[in-house]
């Protein structure tokens, strides 16, 4: 439960601000000038803050839409991402957001309209190219839906732009908004998944994997395009068996024609980010693993990565064609 909300004075009357505040009537409300004065402060203790994150409502002024890192995405010519929110209500141990920001507070940009304007411009500027837009890179796209209505706004926007694809990345099972809408043919609801026993240890505060799988099947059955994101692949004892079980479980009774794609990616971090995250969890076995450092990248190393990639790909091929299987390498 959010106990404290900080609001930039300039957006106090914004309709999204009003909506969010009406959902949090018991929270303490304080005005700030700019979110940076709070969010970017030094000497914040990420772990402690993560126990009781405050919500910051702010206006984003620029960089609404950014090119996705190379290796991210499927087969579009150009991939872009946008982040209406920084930080996530879940607390997954491997999440790169822990090394990205010094604050664990949730930062929500309420000026959705400026994001949509910028996306429109990007579409116009790239006419003729196949484009995919991703949401859920710096936050979970659905987890906050009851408070923000972000997904509803965004889906309505992309419904009017059938020439591009939109992927909404999530671990949330909060799918009522989607089930209440007619499926949109250019929108993919992509779920991050790990084997149940892995997620039980690492995906803190996130919905259990069986619930996510149920949500995936429900959406696919109701006509939504769904994506499976086995990302990051976690190396552990009996990983082959665990991933095989996961893939088998999710594919059983799944409306395969509505499965847009499956992607998988290795556990990789920039060196500095890895050191930051590992220092946050000296008692976490995930970070005690003898990782390999190659240049500025920390990973399991090519041997494990390749073995996992080959195995996962082979398992997936049992259920669908290679045209729907992608390896992400960022």
């Amino acid at each position: 439960m959010i106990e404290t909300v900080f609001v930039e004075s300039q957006i106090i009357d914004h309709p999204i601000t009003e909506r969010v505040l009406s959902c949090l009537p018991k929270a303490d409300l304080l005005n700030i000038n700019r979110y940076q004065e709070l969010f970017n402060k030094r000497q914040q203790n990420f772990r402690l803050q993560k126990e009781k994150p405050a919500l910051i409502l702010a206006k984003k002024h620029d960089n609404f839409v950014l090119p996705a890192p190379s290796g991210f995405g499927m087969d579009s010519q150009k991939n872009f991402y946008f982040s209406h929110m920084y930080n996530c209500i879940y607390d997954c141990r491997y999440c790169f957001l822990q090394g990205m920001y010094s604050s664990a507070n949730y930062l929500l940009f309420v000026n959705f309209e400026d994001f949509f304007r910028s996306i429109s411009e990007t579409i116009q500027n790239n006419a003729g190219s196949s484009l995919t837009f991703f949401s859920g890179y710096d936050c979970d796209s659905l987890a906050f839906e009851k408070i923000t209505s972000f997904a509803q706004h965004t889906l309505n926007f992309f419904k009017e732009h059938p020439e591009v694809e939109f992927e909404l990345r999530t671990k949330s099972v909060n799918i009522e908004t989607l089930l209440n809408l007619e499926p949109i043919s250019n929108c993919i609801v992509a779920f991050s998944l790990s084997p149940e026993s892995v997620a039980d240890v690492l995906d803190k505060k996130a919905p259990r994997v069986n619930k996510r799988i149920r949500a995936i099947k429900k959406l696919a059955k109701s006509g939504w395009l769904v994506g499976l994101r086995l990302d990051p692949l976690i190396f552990c004892k009996n990983w082959k068996g665990l991933y095989s079980e996961l893939i088998e479980e999710v594919m059983a009774d799944l409306e395969i024609r509505n499965l847009h794609s499956v992607s998988f990616g290795p556990l990789r971090y920039p060196k500095k980010m890895y050191n930051t995250i590992a220092a946050l969890y000296p008692d976490e076995k995930l970070f005690a693993f003898p990782m390999q450092t190659t240049g500025q990248l920390v990973s399991y190393g090519p041997e494990i990565e390749n073995e996992m990639a080959t195995y996962i790909q082979d398992e997936l091929k049992k259920y669908l064609g290679v045209d729907r299987i992608f390896q992400c390498l960022i």
Binding site: E3, T4, F6, D28, L30, I32, N33, E37, L38, K41, R42, Q43, Q44, N45, R47, L48, Q49, E51, K52, A54, S197, V198, V201, L202, I234, F235, C236, K237, P282, D283, E284, K285, L286, F287, A288, F289, P290
Partner: protein, 282 residues
Amino acid sequence: MNNTNQEFKFFWVVALRSEANALIKKFNLKSFSNHCNFPIYINRKNGHALVISGVGSIKSAVATMYLNKTFNPGQFVAWINIGIAGHSQGPVGTLFQVIKVVNNDNGKSFFPGLRFSKLAKAAELYTVSSPENEFTLPVLYDMEAAGFCEIAPSLSCNELTFVLKIVSDTSEQSQSLITKKMIADLFDKNSAMIDNLLQAVVKIVDRERARLGDPIEMDGIMCSLHFTETNRLRFRKIYKKWWCLFPNKSLADRAQKASSAHDLMQSMELDIASEAQSWKLK
């Protein structure tokens, strides 16, 4: 002077002698020193140390640094600025947890402490350089917190820096009515709430110490073998990984037999690598 003060958990910075007296009595503190016009009181048994800063933001900042320099307590302690403050509405006697502090002189803001919403009401506070009588904003007013907040987070962390204020005067009740007796009464009235807040704080301090502090065995090993400065850092990292995997094993015997720090670290890395193929996540 004792420079290894793991026993201290709470570092108090207060402006006035009368505020300090309430805490000295409450925590049974004894005089430790009285240099530089910053009297220090401590009780090692219950983990409290207190400095009287005098009035003003700069004095508060300097006193905070002085207390830190005196005891060098490290990262895992709570820094608390407590005192009386003015408020437009009050009521007098209400204790607030301040979650935003604004330095009225330069507009700089601070956001101290992990929030304890079930224990104390939240408030914004303006630190002013002369006593406030107008109370133009619905906030608290004091003369120290901004200076304290400028320094304390860098000694521990922002989430273990707390500002607690008790309303002593309002637009209805002038500060000229404040007496030593009144301050003592205000602290007495809020004694239980202060205790509750400290209980919540100490849980965090203990947890952070256990989570991030160095295992006791590590210091002994670093004394028994020669480590270069680079190797110390490396050993600290390797040891924590090793300890995460083998929490019930001791390294002391092996360290005694090791011919060098390098050999010891290499054997630890081999231990870790040997677990890789059957890696358990918990």
